[in-house]
Symmetry: C2
Subunit: 331 residues, 2 copies
């Protein structure tokens, strides 16, 4: 299979990591997806592995010339939807950075194109595949905490030096869709319930000259059956911390509590007598491997197209709530 | 000084623990504060230490007869305000279980009585005095995390077997005022900013036959200067856990992050290179000792009367938000 990559801003590493396991699949073209984006570094990284690789400056030309089986879209976030639309119109399988759109109109437009396309689509909610999140989810699915009633999720990032596209709402889309969507995905994935409403807040204060970038944000989700979920986001992780991010979730159920913290999983229920650390499952192959399997009709990707659309919708609605300081409801 | 105790439902242990350090202060009377409350167990516990101790069944009679210098109120939560009003009218110093009232009308009535009384008043936000919370607060006050931008607080309790007053909103007041008010106090104490608004949710589902008791709750506070704070509450801590409660706070500032977790304190800022555990300060003497000092004009209690009223107001407003599913604003 032939893969094209549009943009090198997002997590194309998911692709580079997993494509190695599939000798039948190769990258054939790379191209910027946004004005000002430079994909030469990506081209340099992979050109030796793919001698026939071509670099383009117009992605429509690339898609029409190379006719790939899969297109990876990871340009400036505000351009995801526009680029994805061209991919879906051509009925090409789409592996796309989250959020797949940064406003609801674009999202609904994309969903309509997707519905008519017959292709596979997955957004890069790749954190689901980390051994710690997958281990926790497997434990929850096997009933270790009973019925989920409450979840607290956390995303904490180092600010570091951010590209220009982070500083403008139009290209960035907001911290809730960019950073928070991962954690909103966890709520939906673990909770396995629809969202009822969201109330959010975000702040640009102290963002060190990063324009529109919200340095902190907090979301309060109500899900079906009175399940509640908080999502805390910040770019205030000290630069000297060992890792870039500090991803956490705490899932509180009727029979126990499970937590993901510092890449470890802790479970407590009536059988454990306090927290016990769980053995982590294997995490060699990730999201793009899973997506490839689906494209080849060999399985279903853990992140469905409907998950990708729904979590993006929830993320955009959460940002709207913060912008407009009001509760936003789901249909 | 003479101390009377009305009710034995709340945390009178704060009094029994600290009063030992002050040989000049003694308990002279105990009496129920609520219909159906039985204070005989408390009487039995302390009668040997206070040979002249009397037990009453009418607290007004007790107050008028014994004329104490300090009255401790810890009856059914819905009766706190009614009982406290009688104490304040008699210009007796008041050490009272939180929440000091369970509706705003009672709270404002009490505040007016307090303003005219000239006495000392403190609500039992005694968790401030634990070595872990006090150590974290001292670190924050000394600038270790810079300007606070975001806080995540947690209260998680075992449900256990609850008295009948927990099962009725009228006597209980709600999980947000009873359990959450501690964490709301932490937000206010650490953040040192006024509240702007609150949005909350709570649920009685799966409460094991405990009537009106909300098993889970979540609050989203916006404070001045776009500081945000979440408060997560649950009664779902497994019965086999080592301790009754799992109190936590995470305080995210412009220069670092501090966390209280499992009675320990972790700080990370640009100087620490990852989390370091802080040495805990001394925690021998607690809230009632501090209150006694204030009554004797020897110092100021860490929990002021204004703190007690304001945090109770915030707790009641948070519960109103959850009851009415709307954002509630502060003046």
């Amino acid at each position: 299979m032939k893969v094209c990559i549009i943009g090198s801003t997002g997590h194309y590493e998911y692709v580079l990591k997993d494509i190695k396991y599939d000798p039948e699949t190769r990258i054939v073209g790379v191209c910027p997806g946004s004005t000002g984006e430079d994909v030469h570094l990506l081209y340099e990284i992979i050109k030796n592995d793919y001698p026939s690789l071509k670099i383009y400056d117009n992605y429509i030309e690339m898609l029409d010339e190379l006719q790939p089986d899969i297109c990876v879209v990871c340009c400036y976030f505000g351009d995801h939807a526009k680029v994805a639309a061209e991919v879906l119109k051509r009925k090409i399988n789409l592996f796309i950075e989250k959020p797949i759109a940064t406003d609801l109109e674009d999202l609904y437009m994309l969903h309509e194109l997707y519905s008519k396309s017959g292709v596979s689509l997955a957004a890069m909610f790749g954190i689901r595949y980390t051994p710690w999140f997958l281990t926790a989810w497997n434990a929850v699915k096997s009933g270790k905490v009973g019925e989920i009633r409450l979840m607290n999720a956390q995303k904490s990032y180092k600010l570091g030096k951010r590209g220009v596209h982070f500083k403008n709402r139009k290209t960035y889309g907001g911290t809730i869709p960019w950073v928070g969507s991962h954690a909103i995905d966890w709520l939906y994935w673990f909770g396995a319930k629809r969202f009822v409403s969201v109330y959010s807040s975000h702040s640009k204060f102290y963002n060190m000259g990063n324009g529109d970038l919200e340095l902190t944000a907090l979301c309060h989700f109500v899900m079906e059956d009175e399940v509640f979920g908080s999502v805390s986001m910040d770019y205030l992780r000290p630069n000297t911390a060992k890792s870039h991010d500090d991803d956490r979730i705490r899932v509180v159920g009727t029979e126990g509590i499970i937590e993901v913290r510092e890449c470890e999983v802790y479970l407590m229920n009536n059988e454990t007598c306090g927290y016990v650390e769980l053995d982590l499952c294997d995490g060699n192959k990730g999201i793009f491997w899973d997506f490839l399997k689906q494209v080849k009709n060999e399985g279903k990707c853990l992140i469905s197209a409907e998950d990708s659309f729904y979590v993006t919708e929830a993320s955009i609605k959460a940002r709207i709530s913060a912008d407009e300081k009001r509760v936003v409801y789901f249909d």
